[in-house]
Each structure stands twice: as structure tokens, then as C-alpha cells.
Symmetry: C2
Subunit: 370 residues, 2 copies
């Protein structure tokens, strides 16, 4: 299949780092939250190898924020997720899948608590802003809900701490995982969080003024020179190895939080109301029919996956693979698949169908073990 | 600026017509409602010339539907738009900009009334589904809101009637503008509406079963052979000439329905509640500061516009151009621009800034006259 060109227009919003990204020779984009998101500068494999050894600068401005602020902000944020948010301290971030009244996943954001009554919902690719605005208006809550001028720039990789320490001093090394500080870089205010969409460590720098995007990029870029910094992007191989599922690809609005195996992030008995409560209790009673799972295929690299591949067991269709990449670390193809509950336990032996070919596949736990 | 490749993944949904679109040699895409939308097969100018003379088949599956059905469906649909929907008959479609409690535009869909208590909101590029679901839940309304498996295929151009008459009989010529019938083509149920995103006439065929997409495409394609049918897409030149504004490009969630000059489609005094009522009344009282306008630039063709171009008057910035194309019909560049109220009347003489060059520009009415 031939590659196709992306036609740019105002509707696909540019990012504050766009000038530098183009200068660095971006080769391909995806579109995410009505904004461009760089995908490749060289190749996915080259970028993977560099990310695991050095440090990269990622334009992830497309991870937009939904700000919820006001007297009823906490009540509203509690309503939209089965995770208990009250215990999240100011200065902390939590991964909090959002679920509607049917228990279906609306998004899987990080929620950042900026103040007692002020949150950023740092979203995957769906218009959470509209959903939260609708709920707030419908319930008559006293909050303001809007998209602020906030664009994350990620510094990811094992040398990310060195880069940020050179830039801001040694104390940044003390920022704990999923905690943030407020500081300035290149004279612009930023929220600096230890987080990011890889398992290689690093930070997300939340720029709060688009006009300062190039200055922020340049400051980090310069500090990164002696640490072999390169431009990069969320990497398919790395995210499969780390087990990061992608909203829209590995799970959609058709899937419930239980089917997505999100229990460990949720507090289903939390002591405050949330929209999905009744639906989730019913699903727990009836049992879940499908389960998002990790699947390993020990073969040479499979061709690129674009849509879905079928997974079978004893000749019966039991699910579909939604993401797949060949992992140098495991010397196998790693995949995420939504599978029938009965075959979703680690150890299940299944068959993956790719272009009419059959491949033996094994269900693994979410760390690719057992 | 070099073209960039669009990386396809499951998150950017494919359409039911995708196989045929690829076979026809699609060159470029945009992304719209988390789905791919073809932009070009040859060039915008070639496709414009063909569209104005013959007939084209457009994969516009990305115009997704939000179905609202149930006892409170009409109440909900009335809430979200300042247009009065009760007078819309079953079998009719209406253009109905959606506005939130601040009077800001959330989307500018066609609303299709399928039954007294059943509507399709045929949307531009924003997750109206989430907004409407949030409002419905927040207000405790007795409705079901979901995205059905419905994908429009458009037949546009002066020969569209001939194609559809060959396919379905002469009676299709009697379907009035913005009216629809329910029928079958290639053994699949469709809603056939006289509508579409061009001023060249034609139909939108709402496929209701993705699996039948290729069969539907093939049936229309075959009937179109003797009428010089070609694949196409919403065309930049044609939409400028026809005056069709695009949500996300020419207006965004930052703009009010009054700023977008939508009054002619609205019934601000409608006798039922709607969310934007108080905000709009206040804006009417205070006066609107900006106005979406048509601007003509009589020069040779301008370079492609990607973001925004500034518009000045007496050296002061008075607005920005969001869409522009050179029109063979008017032998001038046509543009849409959000302009300060005081310079937005037809006849105003302004200056457009493009890459440091100045061009005289004239505000026109919405039919490019006076």
C-alpha cells in the first residue's frame, strides 16, 4: 500500500514547537485531538534504539488539557472517573480512565491536581472537553471547563534527568514519579512533571504560552546537546514493550473499563458518586466477556498492522489484535488484543491470522512474563 | 514546505468505501471525526473543473452521525441548537449550528429527522456525541445517544440526478432540496437525501451497514459510467465559490453563532428552551465585535494557505483569513475571514498580508456580490 499525504489546514491545529519539528525533518504525522502529532523523523527502529540509550525531545502538544476549575471541580472530576481523586494531592498526577454511565471508556487521561479546586485532564484522542462541559451544564455545577493554552513537550529517555539537571539544577532529580513542580525555563512558566508516554523515564514540560514554544524547545535542545538529544515521538516498539495501551487503537468507546483491565487504577467502591458505578457493578455481577490482553508471537517481524488482525482458537474467532511491533528486547512480535475472557489468561495458546498466514501466539501477563 | 506522510493506524478509522478509494489512487487525506477523509485524487483544480461539469462520487463517511432517539429526543435536540427543530418534518433535513451556554459554536451539522422521536445529527469535525451524551445524562433525559453504523457516500455534480435516476428510476428527480427518502441500492438499505457539501447539486446516500460499502460504491459507480463519473472529495475552490464555511477552519469553538453570521439559520426567539439563549441575548444587546466575512483578492493565484493570514486596515490588524482559493469563475482569490465588525460590511477595502506582501482585498456579501 502506498503512503498517502496528509493535507494540512487550520482545522488540523499546528503546535507551538512546529517550526523546530519541521526543521528537524519530521517525516510523518498522525492527527490527535484535532492537532498534528509527529510520528517519525527517521525510522521507528532507529528511534527506539536511540530512545532506550539516550534522550529525546517530543512534541506532544496534541496531548491537550481540559481545565476544570471552581467550587464544584472535585465533584465533577470524581463523577467522570471510577478512580478516587480526592486522595490525589496538589502537586500530584494520576492515571484515571474516564467512564460513562454504561461503564464505557471515554478517554484514559492523566489528571493533574494544580490546586484544591483546579485540575488539568491531560487527554488522549477524544473531545473530553465537550463531554465534561455537557455534564457540568446538565448538572448545573459551579465550575469553569475550558481548554487552556497548555502544550506538553516531553523529554524522554535514560539521560532525561541529566538534561533537566543541567538546565534547572540537581534538585529536579528529586521529583518523584507522577509528581510535578512549577518553575520557569527560558523565562516561561512551566509545569514540570515526571511522567511521559514511555517506560524510559523522563519528564513532561507543560508550556503555558504558545508564543514561547520555540524558546522552550531551544533551551532543552541546547541542554541536551552533550547528552545526544534527538527529536522523537511516542514509539510503537517501546510502547508495546512497556505495555502502554493507546486509546482509539487498543480500546475505544465500545469497550468497558473492566474489559480494558483497568481495575488496578480504579476504586470501584470509592465513597463519592461516579457515573459508571451502577453499570460497573452490574458488569462485575454478570462477568466480563472480553479482556484486553498482551499477546506474543515468536516469529520474524510481521508486516505493519493498519487495522485489526483476527485471533483464533481451535478455528473459532476469539478476538483481534489492535497494535503490534517486533521487539528487539524480547526477540518476538508483541501485540495487544481484545480477547474472549475464556482465552485471555496468560499461557493460552492461540493462532494469529495475518494476510492468510497462521502464526502461533501466546497470551502473556502485562509485563510479558509467564 | 515538504509534504508529510499520514501514518495510518486503527485510531484513524477507515471507511466502508476505503478499498475502492485506494484503487482509484487517492493521493491525500485529511482526518475528520477520527476517520480518514480523502482530499485529492488528481489536483484540486482538475477536480473542481470536473465537478462543475459532470458528476463525482465522494467518500464522506467521516461525516459521522449522532443518533438521538427516545421520548425526550426532540427536547434534547432543541436544547443544543438555537434553530427551532419542531417544525422540521419527518423526511426533512435542516442545517442547525449547535451552540453551548456561552453561545459558542460546538459544530454545524445537518439534523435529519427520521421519525418524530428519532434524529441523526450529521456532524462536522468535533465529538458532538460526547457533548450530547453529557447533557442527556446531566439532565436525566430519557433518550439514547450513540453513533450508528451509518456512512454517507455523496454523489455531487450537475449529472448526479441522471446517475441516480438510472439507478433508482425517474422519481428520484422529484426529491426536493434537504428532503430524503428511504430506499435500497444494491440490496442495502439507504437514506437518500438531496444534500451535499457543494453547490453543484446532488445527493448524499447514507449507508447503514459498513459491510455493504463496496457494493453500494460499485452500484453508483457503474450507473455513473456513461455520465463521466470520477472519484472526488469536498473541493476547496468549489466551497469558496459556493460560500461553504468549514467548522474547525473558518470557525471554531472560540466563535459565537452571531460572530459566524448564522442568524438566517436560527430562530433566536423559538418557543422552547435552548442552552445558548441567555448568552445570545446578551451578545445581541452588547453588539458583536467580529463577523465571519467573504473577502475577494483580485490578483494572480495566492500560495496555498495553511494556517491564517493577517488582514489589515489603515495599518491596524482587523482580522485573519482562514480559507482561500483562486476561483476560475470569479478570476480572483476568494477567502473567508473573521473580521472586526466595523470593517466587515460589503465594500470595505482592506489589505491582506501574505509572506510579507500586501494585497488589496474587498469585503463582499456572502454571494460574492456588491
Amino acid at each position: 500500500m502506498n503512503p498517502v499525504e496528509l493535507v494540512l489546514s487550520r482545522r488540523l491545529r499546528m503546535t507551538p514547537f512546529e517550526t523546530r519539528v519541521r526543521e528537524q525533518g519530521v517525516k510523518s504525522y498522525t492527527v490527535y485531538n484535532h492537532m498534528v502529532l509527529p510520528v517519525n523523523f527517521s525510522s521507528t527502529l532507529e528511534e527506539y534504539l536511540h530512545l532506550c540509550e539516550h534522550v529525546q525531545l517530543w512534541d506532544v502538544a496534541a496531548e491537550r488539557q481540559v481545565e476544570v476549575v471552581g467550587p464544584d471541580a472535585l465533584e465533577l472530576v470524581e463523577l467522570i472517573t471510577p478512580r478516587h481523586i480526592a486522595p490525589c494531592e496538589v502537586g500530584q498526577c494520576v492515571y484515571a480512565p474516564l467512564a460513562d454511565e454504561e461503564g464505557l471508556v471515554i478517554n484514559d487521561p492523566i489528571i493533574i491536581r494544580l490546586a484544591h479546586d483546579r485540575f488539568w485532564i491531560s487527554i488522549a484522542d477524544s473531545d473530553v472537553l465537550l463531554w465534561v462541559k455537557g455534564i457540568a451544564w446538565g448538572r448545573g455545577l459551579n465550575v469553569r471547563v475550558f481548554e487552556p493554552d497548555v502544550s506538553p513537550l516531553a523529554v524522554q529517555g535514560p539521560k532525561a534527568d541529566d538534561v533537566m539537571a543541567d538546565l534547572l539544577g540537581e534538585s529536579v532529580r528529586d521529583i518523584k514519579f507522577f509528581r510535578f513542580i512549577e518553575t520557569t525555563i527560558a523565562n516561561t512558566d512551566v509545569v514540570l512533571a515526571r511522567s511521559g508516554w514511555s517506560g524510559q523515564g523522563g519528564f513532561e514540560i507543560y508550556l503555558q504560552k504558545s508564543a514561547d514554544g520555540v524558546a522552550l524547545w531551544d533551551a532543552v535542545w541546547e541542554a541536551g546537546q552533550k547528552h545526544h538529544i534527538r527529536p522523537g515521538a511516542p514509539n510503537l516498539i517501546e510502547r508495546l514493550e512497556t505495555g502502554l495501551k493507546s486509546y482509539g487503537s487498543d480500546m475505544t468507546q465500545e469497550d468497558s473499563v473492566l474489559e480494558c483491565a483497568f481495575e488496578r487504577y480504579l476504586h470501584l467502591d470509592k465513597p463519592v458518586p461516579y457515573m459508571a458505578k451502577d453499570a460497573i457493578e452490574k458488569q462485575l455481577e454478570q462477568g466480563v466477556k472480553r479482556r484486553l490482553s498482551n499477546v506474543m508471537i515468536e516469529s520474524s517481524p510481521l508486516p505493519p498492522l493498519r487495522g485489526l488482525w483476527d485471533v483464533c482458537c481451535d478455528g473459532q474467532l476469539v478476538g483481534q489484535v489492535s497494535s503490534c511491533a517486533y521487539s528487539p528486547k524480547y526477540e518476538a512480535n508483541l501485540a495487544f488484543a481484545m480477547l474472549s475472557q475464556e482465552v485471555s489468561n496468560a499461557g493460552s495458546q492461540l493462532t494469529l491470522m495475518v494476510d492468510g498466514q497462521e502464526y502461533p501466539a501466546t497470551v502473556k501477563d502485562d509485563r510479558w512474563k509467564s
